[in-house]
Symmetry: C2
Subunit: 211 residues, 2 copies
DNA sequence: ATTCTCTGCAAGTAAGTACTTGCATGCCGA
DNA sequence: TCGGCATGCAAGTACTTACTTGCAGAGAAT
């Protein structure tokens, strides 16, 4: 990591640097592993996509597991829970829309990693310290926690009924199935306007479909 | 396929027969591919699990794709739509429970194949005639179609409101996320009594959570 | 100018995996 | 009793893939 060196780089717009190479590799790895999965992604394809020699990958990360760990750390940022909380207006429909929008955005961005997390299985021998699947769920889980607390408050005020945990699970399930169905059932009527779909889910969630 | 021979087998309880070994292979392949996926499943592991020599697999199915096709055909039976239709009582809550129960059962049984269908990608070259992922969704899609027609009728009578297609999608999404969350979030409170959970989903779906 | 670091390149190793083949054996039907 | 069929077994082929290594060149820092 030359980043920590005391001497600054000569010009900021260096054509190439170890850190830049490393970054290109991680980005390429994320792309390839999103499509082929941790196992299906080959170091060769990652190298090609990064425009880098295969040996360079191993010089940077040691082995394949090293790339996986780097990808997991690089692409699973924590959510700024503060930013969400400040946007809440008090109107349930609008608050759920805001929370749902953030949740949906995150899930869309982490779509591929979440998909792979549902089939991922690490053999009991070399348990990875950082599981891609676990990392992918960090942000959605954090948001669900906020959701649960929100539901809990609204139940206390008598605006909602039921169990906060189950309610937040159902709400997250609606967003989850929306995002996950996109590949297999790409209905344009649903996915052309995701915010409208979200409003629809919220309407069903709050009011039901009985007339 | 000795099944079609004119002469009947001498005793029904044969210790071994070509058809039986074939069956054992397909069953083992389904098991292994459910865990490791189409690519991750090795012919060696399938052979071991089937208690059969690896060469026998290729004598039966030619190549790996042959096993995949056999698994896809063997484990994706069509739904008896008649059986469902006759059970409908007219009470929406009960009908949705019946439909939801069948949907949930099927999805549980096809869980692993559905999971893999969400990351499955066939390279454009050797497109398989029978895709495991497509086959896995046959039954759920059929049930969703029944659901949609049911919703459509109830909308016509004024009991439900909204668009039948979207409604059935949301309902299927509830069951879908329930089944898919089981591995990553095995909350015993939710999964110890799946029928109770289903009733909860139906309550939210029909009446909403606003008090 | 020299040294040090990063990288490309080419070759190679070891392991896994799909698939083949030839032979021996055992079981069933005729 | 005999002949065919299904299978086990062992060996082997061809390909992929993670990972290594030695060398050479290009910059950058000193």
């Amino acid at each position: 990591m030359n980043v920590m060196q005391s001497t600054p780089p000569p010009h900021e717009l260096r054509i190439s640097s170890p850190d830049l190479t490393r970054e290109r590799i991680v980005v390429a790895a994320r792309e390839v592993m999103g499509r082929k999965g941790k196992r299906g992604a080959t170091t060769r394809e990652i190298a090609e996509m990064a425009g880098v020699n295969e040996a360079t990958i191993f010089r940077h990360f040691g082995n394949k597991e090293g790339i996986v760990a780097a990808v997991a750390q690089r692409f699973c940022p924590a959510v700024e829970l503060q930013a969400i909380a400040t946007k809440l207006s008090g109107n349930i429909d609008e608050d759920l829309f805001e929370l749902g929008r953030v949740l949906m955005e995150r899930m869309e961005g982490l779509q591929d990693m979440i998909r792979w997390s549902m089939v991922e299985q690490h053999d009991p021998l070399d348990e990875p310290l950082i599981s891609l699947g676990d990392q992918a769920w960090r942000a959605p889980e954090a948001i669900q926690h906020v959701l649960m607390e929100y539901m809990s408050r609204r139940i206390a005020t008598g605006e909602l009924k039921g169990d906060a945990k189950r309610l937040s699970r159902v709400f997250m399930g609606l967003v989850f199935s929306h995002v996950m169905s996109q590949l297999k059932f790409p209905d344009p009527e649903v996915y052309a306007n995701p915010e409208a779909s979200l409003r629809f889910y919220i309407d069903v969630f709050l009011n039901g479909v009985r007339s």
